[in-house]
Symmetry: C2
DNA sequence: TTTATTTACGAAACCGTTTTCGTGTACATC
DNA sequence: GATGTACACGAAAACGGTTTCGTAAATAAA
């Protein structure tokens, strides 16, 4: 007979319900009985079966984090933020990686209906979300919080940054440093945050009477090689940009590598500013001017929101929308 | 009535057992009945309750990854490796962060006894492991695989790198580049891999007739500020080292920052080699010579080992010990 | 025709908890 | 003495699946 609450009950001549209540410190049970139960449970090394109680209580104490990549300074900082609050709540964090693959994201989301997790924190991958299970979850009032990359058309709590402004400021910064031909590195997939950053970029150009050039807005692919050759091609041209806004970290470091390969001097030949949370942006050659997002804070805030929802299942928490501002850190790459 | 197997049974005038078997495509059920059940289940959007089946089958389809940090190029690459095989097996990866805190690690491990996960992949935090729950798990034959940082005294499968050799080679490299006074940055906590790397360092010094100096072996703390001041102090001295081996990534980048602050030129004033998996070590100022571990491969291999164990619960798989070699990537910081 | 065997399904036990609803005892209240 | 009320505990019904075992009918083998 394995070590269950039943065994304790039998050995101690008690009813299972009594043991169960004693273990959860119910007021119905006398101090003396509690002591006996606790002591004996300890002695025989009783460990409650997680799944039995989950089944009964309909609560897994798990939350899911769905992100594109983990090898990214932004997302790894976010995870730390998430974990910092989940841990205080006794919750477990299951990490799901989509690798920017929409199909994978959908299959992950579908799986959540089984109850493996009580809530979801998600930063979506690019692409259309028409018949995505994300709508199902939202429609079923499944506890859901978006962070950084949200689905505008889905009703849910959201923690975002001021992407439009950041795109604007980044571009303006380059303009102030004398750039006339500024390129913008975007992702291939349609992402709201990238669109906003690009909008900020375009508006900054317009406001400063610089013309916006189609060929300077690069829709890079998810494959590093493809992106490499795209950016490489642009930088090889006679009429190459003198300033670059990297809308995601990967593309920015990639551009650095390309400039190294092409013997282009940063910032003399090209100035670069990138959205990035690299803790050692200042150690790069040259140190990188960044738009730095409050990654840890975003993780923390999103998780707090999620727990607000979780703990108020009945109360119907309104779908908050929180904006945490990013900041521009000027370094040598735009000197 | 919520959507359960019982509802399907009632609506279709079948027994619950029939429905259950139909859903799991049992040979006992006729094709016609299966079709009816599947169709109806689809129609009413039936989703099986994960915990009910887990309770009965005693299998969670979760594996745990216990690591010190996620914001580290090595560990995030490992996670990718782990996830790449877990996904093909239909398993879910729960990430646990210890932040190098032994107490936290222990409480995490203790929790595993409840059955939340079917197996554990772990890279231990420093410190003594005398009465650690890790021994319990191992004693109970709980599926367990160590990677990178193992507990030597615990019987379990292990995936490691050639730390002794790497420490030796790194030091030898500095010696060949003309360094006479080589420092070694270690962690405060006792870690087997760090000890091995240090042993390699010491042996290399001895083999090349260089004296080993106590004050050049720095036991850095877990706190960045403390480590900063420790390294800073060493580098401020007249008699400072002309070469540094960073045994972990964090300490290496930290040393870079300190050198910048102190206006020490790398590699002219100090040469630096670090254990690191930074994808852009070559973009640092100056580019960093590294000992690079096969991080993704380690994650992959460890997970494959774990599944070997999981899938052979009866067969008692022997505790393998796999060594994946690291490689020295020479760059400018040791020119 | 009688006896096996196969096929397709049902009844009920089971996994290990939690929770609801009693119930008997002791003590206080009227 | 009858009634009310804490108190401490027990019996049994959940939770939603899986699994075992039994059985009626159909088919095959004797």
């Amino acid at each position: 007979m394995s070590i269950t609450i039943r065994k304790i009950a039998k050995d101690l001549q008690l009813a299972v319900s009594t043991v169960s209540k004693a273990l959860s410190d119910s007021y119905e049970i006398s101090a003396e009985t509690k002591r006996r139960v606790l002591e004996y449970a300890e002695k025989i090394d009783y460990v409650p079966n997680l799944y039995a109680s989950t089944l009964k209580q309909r609560k897994s104490n798990n939350i899911a984090v769905v992100i594109p990549e983990v090898a990214d300074s932004f997302f790894s900082a976010v995870i730390n933020g998430i974990e910092s609050v989940a841990q205080t709540k006794g919750y477990h964090v299951i990490v799901y990686l989509t690798h920017e693959d929409l199909k994978k994201e959908e299959s992950i989301l579908r799986d959540f209906r089984g109850g493996r997790v009580d809530g979801v924190l998600i930063s979506v991958s690019g692409g259309a979300k028409r018949n995505s299970p994300i709508h199902d979850l939202s429609a079923k009032k499944f506890p859901l919080v978006f962070f950084d990359r949200a689905c505008e058309e889905v009703e849910a709590a959201k923690v975002l940054t001021n992407d439009y402004e950041s795109g604007y400021k980044a571009t303006q910064h380059l303009i102030e440093k004398g750039c006339k031909k500024i390129a913008f590195l975007a992702t291939a997939e349609d992402l709201e945050i990238i669109n906003l950053r690009r909008k900020g970029y375009e508006d900054a150009l317009r406001d400063h009477r610089l013309k916006s050039r189609r060929e300077f807005i690069l829709r890079c692919s998810n494959s590093e090689e493809d992106s490499y050759s795209l950016i490489h091609k642009m930088l090889c041209k006679k009429d190459r940009p003198d300033g670059i806004v990297g809308s995601i970290e990967k593309l920015t470091t990639l551009t650095y590598a390309i400039c190294h390969d092409l013997k282009l001097k940063i910032p003399r030949d090209v100035k670069i500013i990138g959205f990035s949370n690299l803790p050692f942006a200042s150690l790069l050659n040259p140190s990188l001017t960044t738009i730095t997002q409050p990654a840890f804070e975003m993780g923390r805030t999103a998780t707090i929101l999620l727990f607000n929802i979780l703990e108020n299942k009945k109360g119907e928490v309104p779908n908050q929308r929180i904006i945490l501002p990013s900041s521009l850190m000027e370094r040598s790459s735009t000197k």
